[in-house]
């Protein structure tokens, strides 16, 4: 079980719910489960998000493993100037 | 558009006179080329005046100076005698634009472009400069302040050319200064510009003064009240305060992207005072 928290502005996008417990071995599984648990988020997830695993941020990395006891935040995706 | 570069004044006047469409004299070109590019003017004829020798020389004459209208700011700054006599006029001209602009921009062009914010004009007005104007009927000398008629407008006829700027001789204990306010240190158009010229007697009393302001009205303006506040005084604290107040009172500015009315009025007084102090220092140190 992984505890997934919504960070930044995604919290308000999910109808107020900001924490989810789900089974996922990697980022792709995590995002798929999250979309199932929270359909309001699906659009944002498809458009692209960043995933923070223990403070390290991944922008696009389906196959990055998610260790079971890690701290996971879903964030808006960043770019820059 | 046609381009001509005559080598005599007569030829230039003839060209201007003969053009049925719009003709534009070209001195340094630092304003004209910007206007051409922006499409503000679409002349049929451009007459380059820089190949006319007398427009390119600085001559010491009767104790004063005769400065060809197409002499560049850089050339003015390289003339030690002129700089010694009229530091304010030279500095005002050197404030026009960058080093690159200085290589081209001229007193004649700065005057005839007729911008209310032209840096050299208040300095020339304070200096009691005249300009020599050539036209089909010969030449005439006109006070600088009579040339600019409004923003972008001069009192010159379409076939008249400003040939030279004449600066009068300098009595002992005289000094002039030009200061402007700009937001940056360089490259801006004056938000307020002030030219001050004054002469002291041996006792240090001001016997003669002229104060002119730029960028605070539709044209650069002479402010006789500001001058009067100095004349007959030792140019002390009271006189300077009254002079600054008179300068502010004379302003008829507009609000625009470079400054507000309120700001211009207030800063005109500040800059007038600073310019007067600088002119005073110069007058005192100049025997």
């Amino acid at each position: 079980m992984v505890r997934v928290m919504l960070g930044g502005t995604l919290k308000s996008a999910a109808g107020g719910r900001s924490e989810f417990d789900l089974e996922a071995g990697d980022i792709r599984e995590l995002l798929t489960r999250l979309g199932e648990l929270c359909p309001e988020l699906k659009h944002r997830l498809e458009k692209g998000v960043a995933v923070s695993i223990d403070g390290r941020i991944y922008r696009n990395a389906w196959f990055e493993p998610v260790p079971p006891d890690s701290e996971v935040f879903i964030l808006p995706r960043m770019s820059g100037g | 558009m046609r381009f001509e570069a005559p080598e005599t004044l007569d030829a230039a006047v003839t060209l201007l006179r003969g053009e049925t469409g719009l003709a534009r004299p070209l001195a340094g070109g630092t304003d004209l080329l910007v206007q051409l590019r922006a499409g503000f003017v679409e002349p049929d004829l451009v007459v380059d005046l820089k190949r006319i020798p007398e427009m390119r020389h600085i001559t010491a004459e009767n104790g004063g100076f005769r400065i060809g209208a197409a002499v560049s700011g850089a050339e003015l700054g390289e003339h030690p005698e002129l700089k010694r006599s009229w530091p304010g006029v030279v500095e005002a001209t050197e404030l026009i634009g960058s080093t690159q602009i200085q290589g081209r921009a001229s007193l004649g062009g700065n005057l005839c472009n007729a911008s209310p914010a032209a840096d050299s004009v208040p300095a020339m007005m304070a200096a009691e400069a005249t300009v020599t104007v050539a036209g089909p009927d010969g030449r005439r000398d006109v006070p600088v302040e009579e040339i600019i008629a409004g923003p972008g407008k001069t009192s010159l006829a379409r076939d008249e050319i400003v040939v030279a700027v004449n600066l009068p001789p300098r009595p002992a204990h005289s000094g002039d200064a030009y200061l402007r306010f700009i937001p940056r240190t360089e490259m801006d158009i004056a938000v307020v510009g002030v030219g001050v010229s004054l002469t002291l007697d041996d006792a240090g009393l001001c016997t003669h003064a002229r104060v002119a302001l730029g960028a605070v009205a539709a044209t650069p303006i002479l402010v006789p009240d500001a001058a009067a506040a100095l004349i007959g005084t030792a140019v002390g604290e009271d006189a300077l305060t009254r002079m600054a107040a008179a300068a502010s009172a004379a302003c008829r500015p507009i609000d625009d992207k470079r400054g507000t009315k309120v700001y211009r009025i207030k800063v005109a007084g500040v800059m007038a005072r600073r310019a007067a102090e600088l002119a005073l220092d110069r007058a005192r140190s100049r025997s």
Binding site: - | M1, R2, F3, A5, L26, G28, G29, T30, L33, V34, L36, R37, A38, V46, D48, K50, S72, A74, G97, S98, T99, Q100, I101, G103, R104, T185, E186, M187
Partner: protein, 157 residues
């Protein structure tokens, strides 16, 4: 109506045809393929088109092509003399005084004009002389240092 203009560019006699309203910058870039001079503004506010005209530093965007008749023009392309880079060019490189490099030709031409007349300028003099050359990348620090150190080297040479 095109005009024929005879001039000297970087020491070579050059003839070109141009329309009267074309600027010297247009002529250099489009007719003579000397694209080292850049157009950053077209109004004399950025200095990227700086060239020497009869020994004077000017913005070539504020000179009409026909005005160049009989004149002597020096551009960035003439700065390295064939034997090697000018000390200013070298110091700009060694001190990372350029980032994107678009303003660099203008700065070099302007800085050379300064050092040709004043071999020992102060930092303030360098800054004011170069105030008509805009740079958005460097904050000017390394440019000013490069000019000062090139000047020092040239004085010792």
């Amino acid at each position: 109506m095109s005009r024929h203009v005879s001039t000297t560019v970087n020491g070579d006699a050059v003839d070109f045809l141009c329309e009267p309203e074309e600027t010297l910058l247009d002529v250099l870039r489009d007719r003579l393929a000397l694209t080292g001079s850049k157009e950053g503004c077209g109004s004399g506010d950025c200095g990227a088109c700086s060239v020497m005209l009869d020994g004077r530093l000017v913005c070539s965007c504020l000179v009409l092509g026909p005005e160049a008749e009989g004149r002597d023009i020096e551009t960035i392309e003439g700065m390295a003399d064939g034997k090697g880079l000018h000390p200013l060019q070298r110091h700009f490189l060694e001190q990372a005084a350029l980032q994107c490099g678009i303003c660099t030709p203008g700065f070099l031409v302007a800085a050379k004009a300064l050092l040709d007349r004043d071999p020992e300028p102060s930092e303030t003099e360098v800054r004011y002389w170069l105030a008509g050359n805009l740079c958005r990348c460097t904050g000017y620090d390394k440019i000013v240092r490069a000019v000062l150190s090139a000047a020092a080297e040239m004085r010792e040479a």
